[in-house]
Amino acid sequence: MSGVMKRMGMIFRAKANKALDRAEDPRETLDYSYQKQVELLQKVRRGVADVATSRKRLELQLTQLQGQSAKLEEQGRKALALGREDLAREALTRRSALQQQVSDLETQHRTLQGEEEKLTLASQRLQAKVDAFRTKKETIKATYTAAQAQTRIGEAFSGISEEMGDVGMAIQRAEDKTAQLQARAGAIDELLASGALDDPTGMAKDDITAELDRLSSGSDVELELQRMKAELSGGSAKPAIEGGASSQSAQPQDRPDFHKR
């Protein structure tokens, strides 16, 4: 039975290239992608090396064939010098067959050279692309790391703002309480003024004031009474005191009343 880490490793390798953007960490998938590109580049380079090896092998064969061809030419020349035209003809016929092979190999060599040049160019381009990707990958990784840090900072800030919120709430509560107290004070003043509440604070009128008030209210009552009596007894609207003090013609029944007092 394979453990968790082995199974995760297998699954990750099997699946990562299918959904690179959905993997757990973009940095990881970027590394994976880069690794794949490097592998591809290595394949291309191996291809270039293989073609170059084939080219070398052809060059060796060509050298060998050209050597044989030169040897046959020399043999033909010697045979002619010795008067053996038949041998010379045989040598030149073989040389001609070799020349055909040489010509075929030269064609192959040129083709391979062309392939090699193309592959070398492709390899260089791919190398440049992979290098560019590596730079981009590192940039993205750095950006991602920065974004992560930013998120953490953001979270810290939201934590601070929560605390600030708490402070705001405390201020609000204090304000509410003040307003409540002010309202309550206003209400108490009104209640005291209306007499619905007894004032326990010593703001009540003192005894002397109360007595003076009582006296003043008593004399008001007497004055009113006199005025009413005067109205009833003869239409004089003058206050009785005034009448009593300024007019001798006042009626006699007014006087005893006045003096009763």
Partner: protein, 92 residues
């Protein structure tokens, strides 16, 4: 051998350490399969600690394939189980 802890990075470990890691890893799998959340958390912590302790961390710009991959330290039993389900680590 190179081990990746998801979300954390990679560590290079000598092969001689794998006996200990394998024992913990098998224990972790058993706990995951039996649904022992507490045991799973404990063993995962021990396994990650062992990797960090015995291994040497690879630099961030190193490019080495991970042969073994471990869940992130805060991964839950359910999450790991889901990763290892038929759909695999990455859906699709």
């Amino acid at each position: 051998m190179i081990v990746r802890i998801m979300g954390e990075g990679q560590w290079k470990l000598a092969d001689s350490h794998f006996a200990e890691l394998n024992a913990l890893d098998d224990e972790l799998l058993e706990e995951m399969e039996s649904g022992d959340e507490a045991g799973f958390r404990r063993t995962l912590g021990a396994l990650l600690d062992a990797v960090r302790r015995m291994g040497s961390p690879l630099p961030d710009d190193a490019l080495e394939p991970s042969e073994l991959i471990l869940p992130a330290p805060d991964a839950s039993l359910a999450e790991v189980r889901e990763m290892l389900s038929d759909d695999g680590l990455i859906p699709g």
